[in-house]
Every structure is written in structure tokens, then in C-alpha cells.
Symmetry: C2
Subunit: 302 residues, 2 copies
């Protein structure tokens, strides 16, 4: 499994992620297939949820940050797989009837629609536990496992992504507020993107300053990505997104467009993208593909 | 915080657990209170769920196994708290309408009844992430964090407790089978009891053979405890148990009494209890209180 980053360019192509996924997904699938002592239906539902066609932006970020730190793609695999497990767990639980109640995800029925609600709850739980199992058992021998587990747990938990999700739910009963929206976006999306970058850097034994740079890049990339998502929910079709759109406004969600309008949201996304690009300036031309990714995050149409 | 084990006796008193909880619970509450960057409602619901009056049998087991290994109560705290977080997460999710659909737990409304379903899902998720955060950040400096995270993740995940829960759900549509019941009980209860013991031993830097002994003790104690629970579901009152009873038969659950009848179930519980006691025979009189706990597990009436 390798990422085609021999010739980093200033323009980004989604093909880079597709090529990454073409190597990453089968490795992830093999890892899950090896876990034979799982009840059949749960195993099927975990595989269905984890191997659904996704962008794999987070594990790509992990892998590239590890490479930028002098590590290999193999060094990054555990952290990349753990991040994708956490991301998928969050999607499965977010889609539940009691949460966002979505029927479609990544162009297919959501886990609770394809299987059932109880199975979807257990799939999410199992993927979250699996993330930590992978991180603890498959990270490079010289990696600081304790610190990596801490980064993943804090960015996932009540002070991170799950806290953001909770604020997102209560935010639906409150008037639009930019401060609240920033709180939600930073936690719901920014923290996990930041963790993806930090875990890659840690797996590659980067210096503390390089870890900080990549963490800042991840946070701003996540923010840019989430504001773009807010905008796409208003403008893109269900076919483009692989999930229901125009739902945020109906649900009364805290979004950038709801708080500051479309034009200022576009400016905010650009600012986050620029800050992401600037965060990597000390890492030289090797980081130019990630900088291009930060530009792509706000120009994509799906 | 200390456990009164200066005078281990052959008879067990529930007061031992009550005294343990009187020290353990406030320490756990302080830990959660310190996490100030959590949305208010989520924080309240996490505290409500985690600090509900429980037996604290698992963290007690962790603490005693750490002490038997030469560690202190403080050395054991991270592992004990992590195990209780995982146990509570599993209760909150098991009680959800799509799962066991219970209104009462530990004598109080279940989390989704007291708050709401979405909050209960997030509370479970957050407690699971918190378990790993605590383990990674608060274990003794010289502990093997990677191994401890592995033990907790494997015993919790799809090959452990969550797998047992999945088998429990599908088992309701199948005829009673002792093999299936053993599979479910080992995973749903045995694995986490075993992990509680192993984590305590690891926190106390026990030898591999001592870790194995305590792990076997935990597994058999969990099995004895669960068979006794099956029997209590048939015979105890809601007031005694702090949760609804007589539900297993109605739900068509795989239980020991459903498979082999009450008398043989009592014998199986006694065998598991005896095997637990035998597993600690090499540890001498210091372990006699845990051996008494194994006897109590099958004689309790709540």
C-alpha cells in the first residue's frame, strides 16, 4: 500500500484519494476478516459499515503526516485504520433514528436500515473499541502508544467529537450563533481531523514542533471541510453527496450559512483553508499535496 | 481510598463493597467533574449514569488484584475507573429501546428515560472513549499501557462483551442451547470480569503466571455471577434487583435455567464459583476475601 506522492502538485485530484483507498480498503478488510470470533451478523454489519465507499480523507491525512515525519505507509496503518474506525462509528450512530435519522449514507442504506437498530448501536460500539485495539496492537514498536491512545480518546470523547455531536443536538433548539457553530464544528469535525494528523506524526516519530504544525493543519482542514459541507447541504444533490441534503435548515442545525449567510461562509471556509496551508509552510515542498488538499476541501462538489 | 482487607475472612459481607464504593465513587466523581469542557447536558447525563449506585464489583476486583500483585489502591485507580466506565457504557446502551428496552436500572430511571435516547447513545459512546483516556493518562508510569489498552479493547469489543451482547440479541430468536448460553455469558460478563482482574494485575506489575491466575478467577467469577443473575431474574423482586425482573423468559433469552433448569443451573454456578476459588489457590491467604466473593456471587439475593 502506498500513496502516489512522488510528484506533489499544486492542484489536487480526487484520484489521489481513490488510489489511496484502493490500497487502504483491502488492508482494512483483511484486518477485519481475520477477526473470526465475532458473531456472524455483527461481523457482516461491521464490514458493511467500515468498508462502505468513503473518501478516506482522514486515514490519507494520517498516512501522509506519517510519511512527512519520516515514517512509512506501514508505520501509519494502525493509526489510519483506528481513525477510520472512529469516523465510521460516528457515522453509524449519527444516522440512528434517535439522532439524525438518516436512511442513506455513502450512497447506500445506513447500517440500521440495512440491518436493524440494535445491530447498528453495537456496530458503532464495536468499531470504537476496535480502533483502540488496533492502535494498541499494530502501531510501530517504538511508537508512544500511551500518547497515541490519549490523542485518539480525547479527540473522540466528550471533550471532542462526541461532545460536538451533543452540542449539535441541543443546538437545534437554539437560535443560530456563530460561537456555538464554531464550537460544534471544531469538536465534531476539527478534533478528529487534527487527531488524524497528530497520530500520523506520532506514528512517524515526528518532532514536537512538526506534530504541532500537522495538528493545526488538521484542525483547520477539518473546519474548512465542515463549512464546505454546510454549504453543500444547501446546494448539492443527494446523488452527488451519497446522503440526504437540505436537511440542516429543516432540522434547525447550527451551520455557518444559518449564522452568517452563504457569502461570509465561503470566506470563512477560505480563511480556514489558508490557515491550514500556512500551518504546513515550514515543512517544505513535500507537504504541497496536503496544501492542495486544503484547497480542494473548499472547492469540491461532493 | 483504601479497601479494608486487613482481616480477610472466609465469609463475605456486602459491606466490603459498600466501603470500597464509599471511597471509589467520590474519586470517580472528582475525575469527571474536572472535565469541564463537556456540554452541560452530556456532562450531567454521564455523571448520572456513571455515579448511579452500583455494586462496583468490577473495580473492586481490579483494585484487589492490583494489591495482591504488590500495587497500591492508587496504582489500580485508572484501571478500576476504566472498567467501571466500560461497564456503565454497556448498561446505558443495553437499556436502550432498540436493545433490552428497560426503564429502571440501579433503582432509578435508565439514562434514556431520565434524559433522552440520543443523549443515552452519546453517554455510552463518551464513557467508552473515557475509559481508554483514563487508562492511557492515569495508569502508573511503569505500567505497560499498550498491553492494558489491548486487554480492555479486546474484552470490550466484538470478540468480547459487545460480541456477547450481539449473540444475546440473535439468541432470542433461537431455541435454548447450553453452548450458545455459555458463549454469551463468557463474552457478555466473563470477559469483562476477567479484564478487570488482569488490568489490576497489570497495574500492579504482577508476574505472567499471577496475571493468568487472576484472569481465570475473573472469568469464572463472572460466569458464576451471570448464572446467579439468570436465577435471580426468575426469583427476585424488582425492588431487590433495582431493575425489572422476570424479563429473560418473556424475551426468550438464552439463560442457564432455560437450557438446563433451575437445579442444574445452581450446580453450574457452584462449579464456576469453585473454579474461581481454585484459580487463586497459589496466591495464599491474602486472596481469601476474593475467594469469599466468589462464594457470595452465587448466594446473594440482589
Amino acid at each position: 500500500m502506498k500513496i502516489d506522492n512522488d510528484t506533489p502538485t499544486a492542484t489536487w485530484s480526487p484520484d489521489v484519494l481513490r488510489r489511496f483507498a484502493a490500497d487502504f480498503d483491502p488492508t482494512l478488510e483483511k484486518l477485519l476478516a481475520k477477526q473470526t470470533d465475532i458473531p456472524t451478523r455483527l461481523h457482516e454489519a461491521m464490514t458493511y459499515s467500515l468498508l462502505a465507499p468513503g473518501k478516506r480523507m482522514r486515514p490519507y491525512l494520517t498516512t501522509r503526516c506519517c510519511q512527512l515525519s519520516g515514517g512509512t505507509t506501514d508505520d501509519a496503518f494502525a493509526a489510519a485504520a483506528a481513525i477510520e474506525c472512529v469516523h465510521c462509528f460516528s457515522l453509524v450512530h449519527d444516522d440512528l433514528p434517535a439522532m439524525d435519522d438518516d436512511d442513506l449514507r455513502r450512497g447506500r442504506p445506513t447500517t440500521h436500515k440495512k440491518f436493524d437498530e440494535a445491530t447498528a448501536i453495537l456496530v458503532g460500539d464495536a468499531l470504537l473499541a476496535l480502533a483502540f485495539e488496533i492502535l494498541a496492537t499494530r502501531s510501530p514498536k517504538d511508537a508512544d502508544i500511551g500518547r497515541m491512545v490519549q490523542v485518539l480518546a480525547e479527540s473522540t470523547g466528550a471533550t471532542g467529537m462526541i461532545g460536538g455531536q451533543a452540542a449539535d443536538l441541543t443546538g437545534q433548539e437554539q437560535p443560530p450563533s456563530l460561537k456555538r457553530t464554531q464550537y460544534i464544528h471544531q469538536r465534531k469535525t476539527g478534533h478528529l481531523f487534527s487527531a488524524a494528523a497528530r497520530l500520523g506524526a506520532l506514528a512517524g516519530n515526528a518532532s514536537d514542533s512538526a506534530i504541532d504544525s500537522m495538528a493545526r493543519f488538521g484542525l483547520q482542514l477539518g473546519l474548512a471541510f465542515q463549512i464546505a459541507d454546510d454549504l453543500l447541504d444547501l446546494t448539492a444533490t443527494t446523488e452527488q453527496m451519497g446522503k440526504a441534503t437540505s436537511k440542516d435548515a429543516v432540522a434547525g442545525k447550527q451551520t455557518y450559512p444559518a449564522c452568517v449567510g452563504i457569502e461570509e461562509s465561503q470566506s470563512a471556509a477560505k480563511r480556514a483553508s489558508s490557515e491550514a496551508i500556512a500551518a504546513l509552510s515550514t515543512l517544505g515542498p513535500d507537504a504541497s499535496d496536503l496544501q492542495a488538499l486544503a484547497r480542494y476541501a473548499i472547492s469540491r462538489n461532493y
